[in-house]
């Protein structure tokens, strides 16, 4: 069992490293991730929402739908722990 686990780990790691070959170097200001969507967040977010903290503006407004489901994820964790552990009979 351990042999198989080690083998699949090494294979996954090699595949991941093979994939990083095409990435831009670390911290490169004109990497695709820094050029396509995020410039608008940086330039427009204070104008659109009057919130200096861009991360909070993106978190709650531009991508507020994600954060709603995130709150529901943590709510589910609470419900599951309560239903799994609180056993008045046991």
């Amino acid at each position: 069992m351990k042999k198989r686990a080690l083998l699949s780990t090494l294979f996954t790691g090699a595949l991941l490293l093979y994939g990083t070959g095409d990435f831009p170097p670390w911290g490169d200001p004109n990497a695709p991730a820094a050029r396509h969507v995020s410039p608008l967040y940086i330039e427009k977010s204070v104008e659109d929402t009057h919130v200096p903290n861009i991360v909070t503006a993106v978190l709650a407004d531009y991508r507020g739908y994600d954060t709603m489901f995130e709150t529901i994820v943590i709510f589910c964790a609470g419900v599951v722990v309560v239903s799994a552990l609180r056993r008045p009979d046991a």
Binding site: L16, G19, D22, A33, Y62, Y65, F69, I72, S83
Partner: protein, 499 residues
Amino acid sequence: MSFLNLHMYALAAPLVGAMLLFAAGRFGRRLVMPVVLAALSLSLAASVLVFLEVLTAGPFSYTVGNWEAPWGIELVVDHLGALVNLLIASVALTACVSSLRRSSAELPERRHQFFTLYLILIAGMHGLALTGDAFNLYVLLEITSITTYGLIALGKGRAPLSSFNYIVMGSIGACFYLLGIGYLYILTGTLNMADLHRIIPLLDGRGAALATAFAFLMVGLWIKMAFFPLHVWLPNAYTDMPDGAAVLIAPLMTKVTVFLMIRVMFSIFSPVYEFIQHMAVQHIIVGVASVGIVCASAMALGQKDLRRMLTYIIIAEVGYMVGGLWLANAKGMTGAILHIVNDALMTLCLFLAAAAIAHRTGALGFERLGGLYRRMPLTMAAFTVGALSMIGVPPTCGFFSKWYLLLGGIEAGQWLYVGALIFSSLVNAVLFFRIIEIAYFRTPAEDSPVHEPGKGPRREAPQALLQPLVVTAAALIGVGLATGPLVERVIRFALPVGY
């Protein structure tokens, strides 16, 4: 109540219902049934209207929070999404009628927690059917998983251990999916599916990273849908689950994940990328799917418990759908998409029957099923319709989707896949006729509780468990007969361009 946000109400209704149930707590015991039924019928009505709107006015996209596509989150409601959304709403409502009654027998003092998780799971699946944003899909995948972990942990006996194994495997799947999204984000800078679809063909120099991203997205989703080599967690998880939860999760979770694979294959990447630039991959995957179908069906033969046998059949059905999609021709894809709908209904019918039988006989081992035809004639009749549909007998819907898959397999020349389909149908025939033979000819075992001398021979399942079963059995035949218009008006548009 503008019609523009209708699909959001279909999603929000179960969420608000879940919150009310949790806040009411143990004292709101009477509150459970009305809130669950109201929330799910509201979301079914909204899903039907959205489906009709998409049929008449064509697909539409919806920007949450009024921000345009790549910056805000965009929901895409196209033919395939609306069809799966309607399927989720209808299966959820039918299943909840049965699980409301079954859970009062199984989990008497925990019903409000059970139905909180139940409603949030349905809302998560509605979100999955609509989303057009890759990272939002990850969050919703996590919601449906965490509620399923909780529902499994509510089961009896070995349930916590199977739930923990599912947590470990499910987390690996979700992390692989997140890695795939991360690689795509580093290469393109966007998370919106339509945007990714536009940018990916332009990334000519980045073949290696794209292939890795695609591989991790696929393996992540395969773990989540229990595609054959990665299916180890499913049999224990679906067997130890309380019956009320199995009736909802078994028919929907794997089929919605297959739908997500279609979303990733055709809305993020393109058929050209999968089928033409990487020809070899397609043959490997169809081969693995065929081997998966054969092995899963063979394993189903060796089972002694009705529900555990059904779980192995689910794994074989996932092999049908994944193989059908990777045949790379119109017939195979039509068959796979049609099979999502048909297989959900078939599995629902069989699991509803299993819940009704378990309600009466307590256990689902073959030795307890003796003489069920005399005691539960309607339940066994519906079970037989479900069995015929699983085998693929013409009037029922199972035949039509298998027919399209067979045609697609022959057209694509994948004889291994065609052989696997035929072998699996034969094995299904053996499996189900063996059960029908036990239930019809064998006399009930003396110690089984059903055999009370005082009571009359007929001890049918309670109405709340029987009505959804009969409705689903009728739906199996109805959807089967409606295959023509379903394919013509809906699935033809759901296929990717060029097929």
